[in-house]
Structures are given as C-alpha cells and as structure tokens.
Amino acid sequence: MSNREIIASNLVKRYGDFTAVNGVSFKVQSGEVFGFLGPNGAGKSTTVNMLTTLGIPTDGTATVGGYDVIKNAGDVRRVAGVALQEIGLDPIMKSMELLTIQGQTFGMSRKQARQRAEELLELVKLSEFKDRRVGNYSGGMRRRLDLALALVHEPEILFLDEPTTGLDPASRRDVWQEVRRLNRSRGMTIFLTTQYLEEADELADRIAIIDRGEIVAEGKPADLKAEVGGEAINVTFHDIDDVESAKSELHGMVDRIQVDRQTLRLYLSNAAASVPKVVQKLQSAGIELETLTLTQPTLDDVFLKVTGQRYDADGETIEAELHAV
C-alpha cells in the first residue's frame, strides 16, 4: 500500500501579531480516520489549509502521503482530496460540468471525466439534478456535491473540513456513513475536522483536540475518556443555592466535582454503587434533588480536563468550576 500518512511537525501560522496555529505536531497513520477537534477559531481550518497546500506555514513542516506540502505541493494535490468548510462551488455551473472539469484537471480525458462524474453523481444521489445549476441546490445537496468533487481523482488521503456543519441530522448521518465506507472499502486516510464532539467520537480512530492554536490532547477517544475517569453521577437541584451546600456535603466522598449551573457532576470510582450513599447524604442534609443520572465520560469531559473550560462549538469560553478534592 502506498504511503498515506499525514505528518505535521511544529506547524506555525501567524497573521501579523496573531498566531492562529502554534507549533502543532501529529502523525496520522495510513488508513486511519483522524478527528481534529476544536471550537470555532481554534486553528482547525488554518491547519487544513497548510496541509492541503492552500496556505503556506510560517514555520514548521508537514508531509502528506510522503510529499512535503511546500516543496512538493503539486504531488500533495494529486494524492489528496479536499472538501473545505466553505463549500467551493460555482453557482452558475451545473454539477455535471463541475465534476467533469474537476476530473480533467486531474488528467482525465473529457470522456473519462464525464464517466467518473456519472459514477459520483450516482454515489451522492444527485444524478437526477446533474443538469441543474448548483445555485439552485439545497445546502445538503451542495455539501454532497462538494464531497463528490473531492473524490473525483480517487484520492488516497481525504481532508474533510467540518463536512457536516449546517446539515440536518439525516444529511449528517449520510455523510458519516460515506466517510466510514470510504475508509473501510478503500483504506483511505481521512483527516476530519469537526466542532462536534459526538461526530469525532462516532467516526475517528484517533483524535487530536486543538484549542487556541495548540494541541491539548491526542489519542483514541476511548483512551482519552478513560483518562478522565469512569462513570460520573450528575445531580441537578431545584434551587441553585443547594448546589454549594451539596458540594460541601459531598466533598469527602468523591474524587472530583464539577459545577455547571444547577448541576453537580461527581467523579468517583464505582459511581453506580455509590448512588445510594450520595442520595442518603443529601437527604440527611435536607437538600432536595431534582434529577440524578449516571453518565459515561464524554469527549466534553476530556476537553474540560485539558483546557479547564466546558466545550462550546461556537468558540465561546465557558469557564466551569473544576474541583479536585
């Protein structure tokens, strides 16, 4: 199998005084789905721009499929397919025309390019709209066509920059399904940026979390979650004043407590077995509970642990109170 790795070494991108990406390093193995996760403005798209030769790094190096993104930019473009966050489609053109031109730019004859376009239109379920101008397509249709354009030359490495942002749940599931299929049936390395924790958890073999231009965590989702701890008990109170009282009461029973508005999240070993004790402790202190649930750790917990902030896809900083006790 050919080299399908993506390697970034100390990538830096500065715009004047602002550092958008600050020393990012990682290695994506051949045939891996790699989730690159972070809130808006964290540096995901800037990193993708550098890896796909669209932007030039201020410092650092990167190779895609064994090719240097600066010295061998043409080769990188030949082995990689890219669907950017901003869907790059000419609204005046028809999907058949766009796909045919795309195929020709990768060296296909016009006949080959048209044949390939037909295959891809079938794949993304746009065959019946092939002679309609793209400007008349819905958001989901445009996203699917953009994915088809990225696949025209049968790339060995696929970059998907927030491929499901703005899609309805059904379209999002279609994209997920297609990502899995491309990875499994073709061994395609997929570099997927997303602001959705759920998406990274669902699709990625490994993830890296980027925040404010720096990678703050990297690993398999399961391993990262295991590092956070086991199950947690979430307790919600009717009265926000009870939160502080409950925190004092439970202080000695748990490993860590996270406060989020009217909810206490209790991290402790053997959480399920500890539920009765927690309830009893609170009742004996006269504190009334609204709900109590047991949850598995999520990537949200991972993000909280490594950044000290609750994850928010819009990039807003939400400080959460994190107590190690």
């Binding site: 051949s30 669209l54 890219v82 950017l84 790059g88 390019a113 499994r184 049936s185 490994r206």
Partner: protein, 278 residues
C-alpha cells in the same frame, strides 16, 4: 500502525476511469478554464452586454459629432475609419472588467480555492480567464465592426484589415484582462475590481483620441507619446486608413507585448499575495 482499519480490502472500488498520468496538458488547462469562464459569462449576459452596446453607441456618437470636423486632417477617407479603433478600445476597457469580475465571483463562491487545490498550473489559472476575456472582447469588437460597416466603414486593407483590427483588440483585451484579474486577486472584492478597471480609463484619452498625434501639442502630446495605447491605436488606424505599414504594425505588436507582460506579471503577484494570506 495500530489504528489501520482492519476491514481494508484494497482498491476494490477503483474506477476504470482512474487516470495514469494525473497531469493535464498545459494548453488544455488554459483552454478548459477559458471555456468554463466563457460559459459562466454567457450565462450572466448582464456583464457582457453593456460594453457591447456602449462600444456601438460611442461609434455612432463620434461619427455624428466629429465626422464633418475631421475633413481638415483626413483627406480622402471618412472619419468612421479613423474613429472605429477608438470605439473598440473603449469597449475593451469596459469589457476587460469581465475577466476580473469572473475571478472575484470565483473567490467569493470559494470555487477559486477549489481550483487551487487541483494540480492545475497557477499560470493557467490566470491565463484561462484572461483568454476568455480576450475572446469576449473579440466578440464585442466584431459587433462594433459590424455597426461600423453599416455606418460606411471602408478599410484600406479590406476584410483582412478588419480581422487585423479585431486581432489587435484581442491582444489589448489580454492586457486589460490581466490587469483586472490582478486587482481581483489583490482585493477579492467586486467593487475594488470595478474601480481598479477604471485606472485604465485615462490611458484611452491620454492618447491621440480624436485626432492624429501630429496635431497634438504640449503635455498631451508627451503623454500620448509615452502611452503604449497610442501605438496600438496607430497600428489599428493604419490598416483602416493607410494600408499594410509593417513598421507601425510591429510597433503596435510590441506595445501589446509590453502591456501584456506587465499586466500578466501584476496578476501573478496578485495570485502569490492571495495564497500567502491563507
């Protein structure tokens, strides 16, 4: 390599259409992008029609207002022969904005980035729409020539002279298009591109606009002498009035080359600037 997907079974779905060379010949890159640019422009005729109409309009007005006044410097030939090249150049000026606007539209829609991600040559990305702009200009020039024929144009070099005038218009169009594409790449903005196009506007008037250069005097004569458009206009007028004057035609070609190379260089710097900002 622990995370390589275990279900990978090789390229089972490889399409029969997979290209072996993965490289499109350069000439085909340029013509494909030019064709695409033409398709887009013809689907949005609003950008093409006004310069077309304007060129014909100028020709009619110049002939009506200045036709009789020209007798003292044009012995034996009609003013329409003299002024036709200027109408074509005026049309070229407004028509050249089409190429820049095409690029702006691609930048705004994100399609320009899509093209940057293909192995297509950066030079072809500029030359494609430039060529399309020149083709559109040739169509506009042909239309103005037809209007001129109705107004009594009789070139000294016959029908080949008219083709020569259209060819010079195309060459000039390449230069103008390169300039507006450069502005589009630097600014990425439709308004700035439109405004930038009019930087060329004075060039069409700082020349032997309505009378031959030997009748000009003072600063306007100096300006006309250093303006390359003067020599292109001279070449076009010579085939209309004097016949085939090799030296004038060659100087005209040289002026086209100087302008074309300069504006192409400008557009390449614009492209570099745009990619460096990403």
């Amino acid at each position: 390599m622990s995370t390589v997907n275990p279900t990978y079974t090789g390229h089972k779905e490889q399409s029969a259409t997979k290209s072996k060379s993965n490289r499109m010949p350069f000439v085909l890159q340029v013509t494909t992008l030019a064709w695409r640019s033409l398709v887009v422009n013809f689907r949005t005729p609003g950008a093409i029609l006004p310069p077309l109409i304007l060129g014909g309009f100028f020709l009619i007005i110049y002939e009506a207002q200045l036709g009789n006044a020209s007798n003292f410097f044009l012995s034996g030939t009609s003013y329409i022969n003299f002024i036709l090249p200027l109408s074509i150049i005026s049309s070229a000026l407004s028509g050249a904005g089409v190429a820049g606007q095409s690029i702006v539209r691609d930048i705004e829609s994100g399609y320009f980035d899509k093209l940057l991600l293909t192995p297509i040559s950066r030079i072809a990305l500029i030359l494609g729409p430039t060529l399309a702009g020149a083709v559109i200009l040739a169509i506009q020039a042909t239309f103005i020539v037809i209007v001129g024929l109705f107004l009594g144009v009789e070139p000294a070099t016959g029908v080949f002279g008219l083709f020569t005038v259209i060819a010079y218009a195309m060459l000039l169009g390449l230069s103008f298009a390169g300039f507006t594409i450069g502005i589009a790449l630097f600014s990425g903005n439709a308004g700035a591109t439109q405004g930038g196009s009019f930087l060329f506007f004075p060039l069409t008037f700082l020349t032997a606009t309505f009378v031959p250069i030997n009748l000009l005097d003072g600063w306007i004569k100096v300006a006309a002498q250093i303006n390359p458009i003067t020599y292109i206009l001279d070449a076009m007028r010579s085939v209309m009035i004097d016949g085939w004057v090799t030296e004038t035609l060659l100087i005209g070609l040289l002026a086209c080359a100087v302008m074309g190379i300069s504006t192409f260089g400008f557009s390449m710097v614009g492209l570099r600037s745009r990619t460096a900002r990403k």
